[in-house]
């Protein structure tokens, strides 16, 4: 059966929008989850400053997950059901993690001082639980929810890799947004988690190329696309060179690691997307099989095209208000 007209391209548009939302989620909530995992046990003032750096943003960042999964639900309800059926337990654990860290953020600032440490640990633990579950889910998704020891092993590798990636971008965020001793520490964290991320990505790519010949031939049929991993690699090298020479006089280029991370995230995301398109559940269901009725997709598409630019604009506006190095967080 060949699909023509909007039945063909509406699902393609929606899978791209969903991809965009999830990419923005990975980057934006990525840095604040990373900051949560990196919270040090020894210095309360540094914890305060780290949390202050993400304070105005984390809420909106997390909303991208709701939009990404929301678009999956709206546009591809059958895939949504299938994916969440297979991922029931990791989804539950991720939600518990997100709940814990989301509320810890607010409770820590309002409870009596002796309870604050407890909420800080909750924040750290919740962040870690959320990233590990997300990485595990990506791993299980990639192997098509196969139930074997090899698949579980791969998913665990992915869990570690994604967590390292979040720490990487979280550290880079701190290098950009803080100064003094904390910034020095953040630079060390970023470098370490950068190496872990690179190793993780290399391992995941290797396993995928060996284990799935379809993906291998897909990439080498279009060699020009190899520029994507190349860009990611170059970004990693740039971050590594910068951090090796850190601190730089006058704090020049404190944004380099963050932008580098951004490039790596985008490259990894495109690589993943290209490898699996048009499948929305690898090997089982493509975007056309999973799609909703065209009437519904049109209705939501019109709104999306109007509202999404507005969201982007006021998000930029909010980042501009809190531009520059983080100052102490006060409610007034």
């Amino acid at each position: 059966m060949t699909l023509i007209g909007d039945a063909y391209w509406l699902p393609v548009i929606f899978v791209s929008l969903m991809g965009l939302a999830l990419l923005l989620y990975a980057v934006l909530d990525g840095y604040d989850l990373g900051v949560g995992i990196l919270l040090p046990g020894d210095q309360e003032s540094q914890r305060d400053m780290m949390i202050a750096s993400i304070g105005p943003f984390w809420d909106a960042n997390e909303t991208w997950l709701v939009l990404g999964v929301g678009l999956l639900l709206i546009a591809f309800p059958r895939a949504h059901s299938l994916i969440l059926f297979h991922l029931y337990l990791p989804v539950t654990l991720m939600l518990v993690g997100l709940i814990l860290r989301g509320v810890a953020f607010d409770f820590r600032a309002k409870v009596p001082p002796h309870d604050k440490n407890l909420w800080d640990w909750t924040f750290k633990g919740g962040s870690l639980l959320a990233t590990l579950s997300q990485g595990y889910m990506i791993g299980m998704f990639v192997v098509g929810f196969e139930r074997s020891w090899a698949a579980f092993g791969f998913a665990l590798l992915s869990a570690v890799c994604v967590t390292a990636g979040y720490c990487f971008i979280g550290g880079a965020w701190l290098v950009m947004k803080t100064d003094g001793e904390l910034q020095m520490r953040a630079a060390r964290w970023t470098r370490l988690s950068g190496w872990l991320t690179a190793l993780g990505i290399a391992a995941v790519t290797g396993v995928n190329l060996i284990g799935n010949t379809g993906i291998f031939s897909k990439w080498f049929a279009m060699p020009v696309l190899l520029v994507i991993p190349l860009l990611g690699g170059l970004a990693f090298i740039a971050v590594e060179i910068y951090l090796r020479r850190f601190p730089v006089a006058g704090d020049a280029g404190c944004w380099v690691p963050f932008v580098g991370c951004l490039v790596i995230f985008i490259a990894s995301f495109f690589a993943l997307g290209y490898s699996f398109f048009p499948y929305i559940v690898p090997g089982q269901m493509d975007v056309w099989q999973a799609a909703s009725a065209s009437e519904s997709l049109w209705f939501i598409l019109v709104g999306t095209l109007i509202v999404l630019p507005a969201i982007v604009l006021y998000t930029i506006f909010s980042y501009r208000i809190f531009w520059g190095k983080t100052r102490e967080l006060t409610y007034y």
Binding site: A60, P77, G102, V111, G303
Partner: protein
């Protein structure tokens, strides 16, 4: 061993009950904050800003709890009720999508500015941020209640091969029960927040807080409640008429009416017995039921026996309805009594303050009870007349659902305790913090009585 269906139901009920507590506060609290902010802009009196600062923290905390429990909700559709989206996803999906697009981002982004941006943006921008967050919470309520109401009174669609397809988005969104349910919920939110503000402020006064801010907040809360409660009773009545028209089985369960008859009595209290299909120990007011429901002493009320096998469980709906109405009456009494006293004497006695503290969370009880009436009242259907709940449930193993349910229940218990405790901790903290609030406010400076008091204090009481 409990089955997946029952466990999923308990889990969804627990999730949604926990979740609704926080939006119920926040939908209205943000408008109260806007009121404080605008009053400050208008009068320049610091006391309004102190009210803002205290309540914006509670807003932030409630917002965080609302967001995280809301994310959990959105995942539940896929994890536990896949049949829901597969059957009516073409209708439900876009409504949920619009909620995320028009409301969630707006709230979350401008909340950051509202909370932490006060020294970074102009007062006008900060006021605008507060307004946008308030609009965001309102839009969120609009979309989710449109969807919820559609599940009660579905319209504007057709079924093709067992899947719902949209015909008219206008009819889907503005389905017959939507305007009533939305207004009823918005008023419920206003009342819940009004009583919370009054209760926490009363607590501060009882703890010896002599600053003007809690007194002002107390007044704001009580007067708002006094205005809103009669509106809510009127709205509840209209909503009831609407339900009678579209969901007679729900009304029959609310009133525990078994046989259809004209001039039905109003049952003040009874123990409905579903196996014998009659009421035990019933205390009834003759013909009042027909009058309340149809506004006619001899109006016909359909009985449960007309809907055998298709009506909701009677007991929970019947009792929840009575709890809601009872709480509403209590709110009316307290709000009007306190207003009258405030009006005449300018302040409340300690007993009055204690009653208000006890009523701090009365809105939660009434709102939850109301939602139980409407949601349990829709059973056995998930979408009235279209999809039964039992047809939508997942095939995930019961052990997995049991595991997640246990996690959620323990988490929610801890969080609820922590939340309530924190509200009172914050109130106590604000009693002790004297620094900026020690300064006389503009209100006091301009008030001849307090001016003399200051003068006396400053001259050692000799004048």
């Amino acid at each position: 061993m409990l089955d997946t269906f029952l466990l999923s139901r308990i889990q969804f009920a627990a999730n949604i009950s926990f979740h609704i507590l926080f939006p119920t506060i926040n939908i209205a609290l943000c408008w109260f904050l806007l009121f404080f902010r605008v009053q400050y802009n208008r009068t320049g009196d610091e006391v309004w800003m102190r009210c803002y600062r205290f309540w914006v923290k509670i807003f932030a905390l409630s917002f965080a709890l609302g967001v995280v429990s809301g994310i959990t909700m959105s995942f539940q559709f896929g994890t536990n009720w896949p049949g829901y989206m597969e059957t009516v996803g073409n209708v439900a999906g876009p409504l949920l999508g619009y909620e995320v697009l028009t409301a969630f981002f707006l709230e979350a982004t401008f909340l950051g500015i509202m909370l932490f941006g006060i020294n970074r943006v102009s007062p006008r921008m900060h006021t605008l941020a507060t307004l946008l967050v308030a609009i965001g919470t309102g839009l969120s309520a609009f979309w989710i209640l449109a969807l919820n109401s559609w599940m009660h009174t579905p319209a504007g669609f057709e079924m093709r091969d067992g899947v719902a397809f949209p015909l008219s988005w206008w009819n889907i969104i503005f389905n017959p029960s939507m305007p009533y349910r939305l207004t009823h919920m918005l008023l419920a939110s206003g009342l819940t927040t009004a009583f919370l503000i009054a209760g926490i402020s009363a607590y501060r006064l009882l703890r010896g807080d002599h600053k003007p801010a809690p007194r002002l907040a107390l007044k704001t809360g009580i007067f708002a409640a006094a205005v809103l409660i009669p509106l809510q009773i009127l709205m509840g009545d209209l909503h009831g008429l609407n339900t009678l028209k579209h969901q007679p089985a729900k009304i029959a369960a609310m009133e525990a009416v078994w046989e259809t008859h004209s001039g039905a009595p109003f049952t003040v209290f009874a123990i409905p017995d579903e196996t014998a299909r009659r009421n035990l120990f019933a205390i009834e007011i003759p013909k009042a039921g027909s009058f309340i429901l149809t506004h006619d002493w001899n109006g016909e009320v359909k009985g449960l026996n007309d809907f055998r096998g298709e009506h909701p469980p009677v007991k929970p709906v019947f009792y929840s309805f009575r709890i809601m109405v009872g709480m509403g009456m209590l709110m009316l009494l307290v709000a009007w009594g306190s207003s009258w006293r405030l009006w005449r004497r300018g302040e409340l006695p300690r007993l009055g303050l204690k009653i208000l503290v006890a009523m701090s969370f009365s809105g939660w009880i009434a709102t939850l009870a109301g939602w139980y009436v409407t949601e349990i009242g829709r059973q056995p259907y998930l979408v009235n007349g279209v999809l039964k709940a039992s047809a939508a449930v997942t095939s995930v193993a019961p052990a997995n659902v049991g595991f997640s349910l246990t996690l959620y229940l323990s988490l929610y218990t801890v969080l609820l305790v922590a939340y309530i405790r924190t509200l009172f901790v914050m109130a106590r903290k604000s009693v002790l913090v004297d620094r900026p609030e020690d300064l006389p406010t503009l209100q006091e400076k301009l008030n001849p009585i307090t001016q003399t008091a200051h003068y006396r204090k400053n001259t050692g009481g000799v004048s």
